[in-house]
């Protein structure tokens, strides 16, 4: 037996402090959680859309990856299908938007037999290099946009469209 025995007064003091502490923590914890929630959200969030394309099947040759999302236009909700040209450069995944920067047609990889390693826009014969750089002398005035892209458990997930970062 130890010598410093706990008196009744001390015991009650410890108990009350302990219980009071739990109650205070119970009130403060949710408040702190609510306060920092926006910070945590942004880390986990980002509107990535999962596609059916396996990362392992990708190569240096761009392939078309289709994906669907819901779009609300005033009172009209519709499922919109869209696509991206996805390829690998080393280990890096790259997804380019298929929307021509000229007037918004859909571009195709190797669509012009004379330029099999370029993106081709059939509307006004606009051409882009593999990294999306517009070729001088064709109508487009800027490079193709890029998608944010992630490897999510072996599948390609596409995020927001951003300006091309590959073209220097």
């Amino acid at each position: 037996m130890s010598n410093n025995r706990v008196s009744r007064r001390q015991f009650l003091g410890y108990t009350l402090t302990g219980v009071g502490g739990f109650m205070a923590a119970g009130m403060l914890m949710p408040m702190v959680r609510f306060a920092v929630d926006p910070l945590l959200q942004e880390k986990a969030g980002g509107d990535f859309i999962l596609t059916d394309q396996k990362v392992a099947d990708l190569s240096e040759e761009p392939v078309r990856v289709d994906f669907a999302f819901e779009q609300v236009d005033a009172w009209y909700t519709s499922e919109v299908t869209s696509s991206a040209w996805v390829y690998k450069e080393g280990d890096k995944l790259i997804a380019l938007s298929p929307v021509c920067k000229h007037l918004g047609c859909t571009v195709n990889w190797g669509g012009d037999p004379e330029h099999p390693t370029q993106f081709f826009c059939p509307c006004h014969a606009g051409r882009y290099e593999k990294n999306g750089k517009n070729i001088a002398g064709t109508p487009p005035l800027g490079p193709l946009d890029e998608f944010a892209i992630e490897d999510r458990d072996g599948l390609v997930a596409l995020g927001a469209v951003k300006a091309n970062t590959l073209v220097k």
């Binding site: 289709d66 669907a68 499922e79 299908t81 021509c100 000229h102 007037l103 918004g104 047609c105 859909t106 826009c121 059939p122 509307c123 006004h124 109508p139």
Partner: protein, 150 residues
Amino acid sequence: MHFTGRDIDQYIQQQQYVDTAVIPLVQLDLAPNGLKQSASASDYLQSLTNLLEKQFKGRILLFPPVAYSKNGDRSRLAEEMNAEMRNTEFKHVFYITTDAEWRTFEELNNVLWLPAIPTENMDQSFKLSVMEDQLRQVLPLFIKEWSKPS
């Protein structure tokens, strides 16, 4: 481009690039035994033309479907459309329809006739692949028309 206020603003600025009009022709058959088929064909045609617009957004202006009754006078409609189109700067005008009667009309140039495929019972991804197959049959006709020396 679509026939909407916003797209027309862009069309007016870029008229030299947008030189092709696409007009869907939709037959309305409202008899009880024709209703379903007519609706389904109209749905098919609109899906197809929307897909076409997406592919060629910068070169075509997609008009809203022109609807007429089953027994309507098609040659009069054709004349009226031709007259209206003469007000525009379009170099190429395509009519696209699932109504077989247009195949015998000489008044309209570039009528694309397609048999309607009922798509209402297909799931989304299957429908998309069917519609893209259909689109692939139509695209070369446009490319061919555009590559003609004018």
